[in-house]
């Protein structure tokens, strides 16, 4: 779950990490209530990177100017992302800008602290200047790690690490970490909370700004669902198999529009829920690829048939079903779907039927 900047900064405040004075607003009228002296910095609350260059950060010298900027941001959005909230902050004088982050490093299976004395730019562009410090999860951040970064940001690093651990973050990043008149202030806040750990953080906003409304619905039903930009909806069991099916479509010049991993279920209701989501996603064809090792194919087939009888969907359905009770499943499905015997054949048929 990605947090918006203002949500991250609220967390920073509660961890003793200084942030600029600011208020988040949703309506233009709220600009009048802001008491900060001018100039103001208006920051569109979006998750997309490179926000500054895309017009998502602007400076206003008056309420009128702020109003014009507000309208523009809301109408235009930032890089295709809608702007629902705007953070209005005091302008901070910048003496220096640093980069500081903690994240889970997959290859070393350690935490990694990254620090750079040149912040405020995209981290990829300064990659070779970044200091990397591995932190063993069994013992945590040590003073010797902190001694490798400038004195004035050590306290912040310590607090940021505490937040990283206590809030189950995949990533906590401050870029830029501003030095202003000898004081360190977090200019931005990027926080990703581990989805698997949200159950133990009722205090955090449960918003999932990064998900579409269908993806949110799927999440509530515990179905792995990703909207893509093609027109063939793929249902398979297992993440790898679902991806492999989408890739196979591409080999025949088709394009997947939905990734839906049914998981190891042979619950008829769950199968119907999956089809319900797929129907809402407006795909031209639905392609099912099932390998029933333990999942029983006939139970899944039962769910499909029940759904198609109840809902009378207009799209053709192509099914490739293999595994336990596959013959029964095929018999049940033959009047409702186009069948195929291999992944390649199924992908080919799905593309052709459009």
């Amino acid at each position: 779950m990605k947090l918006l900047e203002y949500q991250g900064k609220e967390l920073f405040k509660s961890y003793g990490i200084p942030v600029p004075k600011g208020e988040v607003i949703e309506k233009k009228d709220d600009l009048k209530k802001i008491s900060n002296p001018f100039p103001w910095v208006l920051k569109a609350q979006v998750l997309v990177g490179g926000r500054g260059k895309a017009g998502g950060i602007k400076i206003a010298e008056s309420v009128e100017e702020a109003g014009r900027i507000f309208d523009e941001m809301v109408v235009k959005g930032v890089k295709g992302e809608k702007v629902r909230k705007i953070l209005v902050e005091e302008k901070i004088g910048i003496d220096k800008e640093y980069y500081l982050s903690f994240f889970i490093d997959r290859s070393s299976r350690q935490y990694l602290m990254m620090f750079c004395s040149e912040g405020g730019v995209e981290i990829e562009s300064i990659a070779e200047k970044v200091k990397k410090m591995y932190v063993n999860p069994l013992v945590g951040l040590q003073n010797y790690h902190l001694r490798k970064i400038p004195q004035e940001v050590r306290g912040i690093a310590k607090n940021l690490f505490r937040l990283f651990i206590e809030k189950d973050c995949e990533l906590t990043e401050i870029n830029p970490l501003i030095i202003s008149n000898g004081r360190a202030i977090a200019g931005d806040a990027k926080i990703i909370v581990d989805n698997n750990a949200i159950y133990r953080h009722e205090e955090l906003p449960n918003e999932f700004v990064e998900l579409s409304s269908l993806e949110k619905e799927a999440r509530e039903k515990n179905i792995a669902f990703v909207q893509l930009d093609g027109n063939i909806g793929v249902i398979a069991n297992g993440a790898g198999l679902t991806m492999a099916t989408l890739d196979a479509l591409n080999e025949f010049n088709g394009k997947g529009g939905v990734f839906l991993d049914l998981g190891g279920t042979d619950d008829v209701e769950k199968v119907k829920q999956a089809f319900e989501l797929m129907a809402k996603a407006n795909q031209k064809v639905i392609l099912i690829n099932l390998f029933g090792g333990i999942t029983k194919c006939d139970t899944v087939a039962k769910g499909i048939v029940e759904f198609m009888k109840e809902r009378n969907i207009s799209q053709p359905v192509v099914a490739r079903i293999k595994g336990i009770n596959e013959e029964e499943a095929k018999k049940m499905l033959k009047d409702y779907v186009i069948t195929a015997n291999s992944l390649e054949e199924a992908a080919k048929k799905a593309v052709e039927v459009i």
Binding site: R106, I324, S342
Partner: protein, 290 residues
């Protein structure tokens, strides 16, 4: 031979009284796995499929288990893994999915500190056909033989293994590494073990987008592996920034793409299949020249 697990396994099932625990205790027994005890706190004294259930791992140690499989639900899984490790178990297979990353990274490092092998989390387990199965793989897809399989995915592996067996190509060991960003065992660990294993003649790797495990494996293959390696990578059409079902299957900041992995493998002399079904054919063709 085979890697990590063989007929000497005496298995403990943690979380044995849950739906999955019960179902797979039965399935593993049918496969031939020797299950010596189960643990569910508060359920000591009962039994599942004729297996005695204990309240704690410490109590279950009277049955001298040397490996454990974890079906414990995500919020309690970390505790269960550490309990097994603290009682001296040297092989722990974690099936549970959706374990918080900070829990996983903790027990993965703790296993290393204890000198134990940890497979998973979020994995289908490990099978040495004809010997033992610690996991949830379907029983009927395997065949004894000389190909080692290591994979980050579940059903996709079943599919590939099934095709191998149908083509008459048996397996020495099949290991599911898990779909999470941090796992106890990775491709390099599996490659290293397969290279040393006399029974294994060829290696199949099933990778997917996210992270750099395949790129690191490719580098390792170039330097250390003499046996032929075949690979399939899922997620060639996956977009950036989206988690594709597995917590670990995400392309971030341009890193972890399928094309980078395929390129690295090809450079290291690994044959990469376009469809999962191609692997069996590739091996069959090459088998004459080994």
């Amino acid at each position: 031979m085979a890697i990590w697990v063989d007929e000497k396994v005496r298995l403990l099932v943690q979380g044995i009284t849950g739906h999955q625990g019960k179902f797979h205790t039965k399935a593993m027994r049918e496969f031939g796995t020797k299950i010596v005890a189960g643990v569910t706190p508060g359920k000591g004294g009962t039994s599942v499929e004729g297996v005695q259930v204990y309240d704690s791992v410490e109590d279950a140690m009277v049955m001298r288990p040397n490996a454990s499989i974890i079906f414990v639900p995500a919020p309690y899984a970390c505790d269960a893994v550490i309990e097994a490790l603290d009682n001296g178990i040297k092989l722990v297979v974690v099936i549970t999915e959706n374990i918080p990353f900070h829990d996983a990274i903790k027990f993965v490092n703790y296993a290393k500190y204890k000198g134990a092998t940890l497979i998973g989390p979020n994995c289908p387990g490990i099978v040495s056909p004809g010997k033992t199965k610690i996991g949830i793989f379907p029983n009927h897809i395997f065949k004894e033989g000389n190909v080692g399989v290591a994979s980050r995915s579940g059903t996709l592996t079943y599919e590939i293994v099934n095709e191998l067996s149908m083509a008459g190509i048996g397996q020495s060991t099949c290991v599911g590494l898990g779909g999470d960003p941090v796992t106890g065992t990775n491709f390099i660990d599996a490659l290293d073990a397969f290279e040393r294993d006399e029974e294994t003649e060829a290696i199949v790797l099933v990778g997917e987008i996210g992270g750099t495990a395949e790129e690191e494996a490719a580098e390792f293959i170039e330097k250390k592996i003499s046996k032929p390696v075949y690979a399939y990578i899922a997620g060639r059409t996956a977009p950036e920034g989206k988690r594709m079902g597995h917590a670990g299957a995400i392309i971030s900041a341009g890193k972890g793409t399928a094309s980078s992995k395929i390129e690295a493998f090809k450079k290291a002399g690994v044959k990469v299949a376009r469809f999962p079904s191609e692997i069996a054919g590739m091996i069959k063709n090459d088998k004459k020249i080994w």
